[in-house]
Symmetry: C2
Subunit: 194 residues, 2 copies
């Protein structure tokens, strides 16, 4: 595990450089569109290192998506923990989304994008399902804390807002949908908790 530990050594390991390069290229241009050669060139590593670390391109895609999921989770949880009031905690999820959508490198949901490029039933679907289940559960818990009468129904609505503004921000190349979604989420929350 010494090689996988991040950030402690002086220079990043081949694995970390690979993951960083894959993240940038895969997210910006698609997991299928970007070839192995582009990734190793940007990472400045040998091809053998890639296959030694990840086994295959599919393995690299899996690691890329799991890393995306981990960072998204941390980012959303940080936005939730920033508040104490249950209402603000739930809306924190949409604050995090609005931040992400405002980033110029934002290109929508990495899982959906990878899913659109891959055959169903593979690693992409597996990681995507896990990521969506986590999000839905978080929203359900937050809805319950916020006093919603039917937390799962409210969470289902919130998921639609989350997915919709993510997709819309990508397709329209504008973060406007994310702030609309936040406003809408607040209104729905107030209606559901009343």
């Amino acid at each position: 595990m010494s090689s996988a530990s991040p950030g402690s050594g002086r220079k990043p390991s081949a694995r970390d450089r690979l993951l960083t390069a894959a993240d940038e290229l895969f997210y910006a241009e698609g997991v299928h569109t970007v070839g192995i050669d582009r990734v190793i060139e940007r990472a400045g590593v040998a091809k053998a290192s890639l296959y030694s670390c990840f086994g295959s391109k599919d393995g690299l895609i899996r690691a890329y998506l799991e890393d995306r999921h981990r960072r998204r989770r941390e980012r959303i949880l940080a936005a939730v923990e920033r508040h104490e009031a249950p209402r603000d905690r739930l809306l924190g999820v949409f604050d995090a989304l609005a931040e992400m959508a405002a980033d110029p490198t934002f290109r929508g949901c990495a899982f959906y994008n990878a899913s659109a490029e891959s055959a169903p039933g593979g690693v992409v679907q597996e990681v995507s399902d896990a990521s969506r289940a986590w999000t839905r559960r978080l929203l359900t818990d937050l809805a319950r804390e916020a006093g919603a009468k039917d937390p799962e129904a409210l969470a289902a609505q919130m998921v639609i807002l989350y997915d919709g503004s993510t997709a819309g921000a990508r397709m329209d190349r504008s973060p406007a949908a994310a702030v609309t979604a936040r406003t809408l989420a607040a209104a729905l929350l107030d209606a559901a908790a009343a």
Copy 2:
């Protein structure tokens, strides 16, 4: 134009068979994933015919997306025209979406899917922008007819619901999000017109 006219001859032309095959394969597996050979094999057509009709794979992708846009437009308009009351007309858009999401071949938004596989700035983005602009405008008009105080704001919300349930139904492999979106749209409409 005799060859391009649809449905009048006894057997479909090579162009129509190509478009049908491309539609099924591209939508089910992705425009980049599916190669030319698979398309011509399913269409039962020579490769030269494809290049004679569409010029390039990019041309075929454009025709595929434009055809998708046309059929989606017709389907949604039919669902709208089915009603007279302004409220029902707007909700008809979501009825059409629920029908489409219930189809076992449903795989989400063809434009988003193609966009996730393609470099930005190409034909995919062009057709996608047109399709989204049409949808937004339709929803704005319907919102105005339905007496919304701020038709554009309501349309922006409706677009989020539409995008969100489309994406959610694909990723969850379930049409549940589409009926949730319809319910939500009804509630928002009533709130915005009050």
